[in-house]
């Protein structure tokens, strides 16, 4: 046997995704060392002209948004008392919690002096949106951890803490819904202060509201995607009877969102730029057509909505549209005023990929060792 084929066979044995995971993690470790010994300039393409890049645009803005399935579903079950959605609450909370860990991970890389992150607790500035963001990250991560803890207590049969938690479920869920609404909106509010820098196709005083509504759509999309991925990975069935009504909620959220955005650019006059599209206008059209209009159109068709493939593809488009929106706000829309193009370095991409890969791994571990999915479904799986 030659060396090459031995490697090939070894690779085949550990599987393609495991190999990708290993490579990403090795690179991630290397970049981490560089980041903390050589500074931000050595690993990123950030500059004084473009101080916020991929780590804010993707890890923070998207991490928080994609975690929105947790507050959407906990509200559905515990505030609206629609208990039939109970089976998909736990995976949604887990996804939310991992999303927030991605945010915190991204922040630890992005902050110039992350070891001072606690300063936001001591030196207050209630006039700063970033201050609100800091408190929301911290408090809502704590809420998500508590919301997920019954799964851990159940695993080790700790009855007393489980009972205590059950008694505070309602206030806890309501606190979580308020905190995540504040957090989603505050990420939009971050950009209210740059009216002369953010492109008019994205800048609007409604940014905080748009960020909440789009996050609800994306959060539902992520819930559908995560159900699909668990189905593939753990041989579970797709709960179409639960996901299809959720998809209808997503249509409503994305529909309201699309209308608001159209009204905003009509009123500001920015819509005229679409007639003779430049770089920003093309990116806007791509985001809105592929990421909003297309999934809404698809999901309006009952045949598509009730078919697993149609549902999952539509959810994927909505999530992609959400990611495109956050990157357009944080990167595309800021490039013109900055006067420079920003393309993340491969090392920035590696850190983001590494954090996402760790999230996937933690999800898989949690599903394997903890009762994340309800028991009957597990029995049906094989």
């Amino acid at each position: 046997m030659t060396g090459a084929s031995a490697v090939q066979q070894a690779v085949r044995r550990i599987g393609f995704w495991e190999a990708v995971f290993a490579v990403v993690l090795v690179l991630f470790a290397g970049v981490t060392v560089l980041r903390f010994t050589r500074g931000l300039g050595a690993v990123t393409n950030l500059s004084d002209q473009f101080p916020w890049g991929l780590w804010i645009g993707f890890d923070v803005l998207c991490g928080v948004g994609l975690a929105a399935g947790a507050f959407t579903l906990t509200a559905t079950v515990h505030v609206f008392n629609l208990h039939r959605f109970e089976p998909i609450v736990r995976p949604a909370i887990l996804t939310g919690f991992l999303g927030y860990l991605l945010v915190i991970g991204g922040l630890l890389f992005d902050l110039g002096q992350p070891w001072r992150i606690w300063h936001a607790l001591v030196f207050w500035n209630p006039h700063s949106v970033m201050f609100e963001v800091a408190w929301c990250v911290m408090l809502y991560t704590a809420v998500l951890a508590i919301e997920f803890s019954p799964v851990v207590f159940e695993r080790w049969r700790l009855e007393r803490p489980r009972r205590i938690l059950r008694s505070i479920t309602t206030p806890l869920v309501i606190a979580g819904v308020i905190l995540s609404t504040l957090h989603q909106s505050s990420l939009g509010s971050l950009y209210l202060i740059v009216p002369s820098k953010l492109h008019p196709l994205w800048y609007t005083p409604l940014l905080p509201y748009l960020f909440v509504i789009s996050a609800i759509g994306a959060g539902i999309g992520m819930t559908i995607l995560e159900s699909y991925l668990s189905k593939r990975a753990f041989g579970r069935h797709l709960e179409m009877d639960l996901l299809e009504p959720l998809a209808r909620c997503m249509v409503v959220a994305l529909g309201v969102y699309a209308l608001l955005r159209v009204i905003v650019i009509m009123q500001s006059g920015a819509a005229a730029m679409l007639l003779n599209p430049g770089y920003e206008a093309w990116m806007f059209l791509l985001e809105m057509v592929v990421g909003v209009v297309l999934p809404v159109g698809l999901l309006l068709v009952e045949r598509v909505r009730t078919h697993p493939t149609g549902l999952v593809v539509s959810a994927l488009l909505a999530v992609l549209g959400f990611v495109m929106n956050r990157l357009n706000v944080s990167v595309t829309g800021m490039e013109g005023a900055a006067g420079v193009r920003y393309v993340p370095s491969w090392m920035e991409v590696t850190v983001s990929l590494g954090l996402v890969a760790l999230g996937f791994a933690l999800f898989a571990l949690a599903v394997r060792y903890l009762p994340v999915f309800p028991e009957p479904a597990r029995g049906r799986s094989s």
């Binding site: 916020w52 110039g112 700063s128 309602t170 509010s189």
Partner: protein, 248 residues
Amino acid sequence: MSVGLLFDSTRCIGCGACSAACKEANALPLPIEEHPTAYTWTVVERVDGVNVRRLCFHCAQPTCVSVCPVSALRKTPEGPVVYDAARCIGCRYCIMACPFGVPKYQWDRAIPIVGKCVLCADRVARGLPTACAAVCPTGATLFGERNGLVREARRRIAANPDTYVDHVYGVTEAGGTSVLMLSAVAFERLGMKTDVPRRPLPLLTWQILSKVPSFVGVFGALLFGIHWITKRRDAVRAYEAEHRENAP
């Protein structure tokens, strides 16, 4: 009393004494770079044959001060916007938000901080002019009480209306700044931001932030209400179902 600077670009000869004095007064490392950085807080740039100083404008209601989550930036009553490096966590929101693009970051350091002109706050507190104004050989950079500087700028424009553009940059920009500028050519051509809003920018975020406490109360009450009603609805439905079974 609030102080400031008046920079008259028609009087600047581009000698760079201000940059050198700034380095010395603020113990910044050499060399003097071409454009402002975290280590060079002011430079004279030559644009279209005009010498124009780049430095912090020291807004009356600074955007950087409002966005800093840890209050590392502060507007002093005397005018300077100062920075406390010991508090800074490095979120760089000030760099991202400043309408004039002033704050800079130490991208090359493992333990970086922000760098920006602080209007020689410690000198000003001792009653001295800023280092740049003290060394300027032509009086292009003038230190003084801010309102007096506005009057002086307007007097110069009125005396030489053919020389100057009829605008004192900094009187209304971002709600007014402590540093003012005069020019013989359109400010836009000098690379100055002319699309800066006239209202102080912190108002834009405060409109939303000030609503947070009432939002928490109202939204919380609404969610509890929905929970209460839907739970009650379920209880009633269960009760009715039970009684229908028990009925004869």
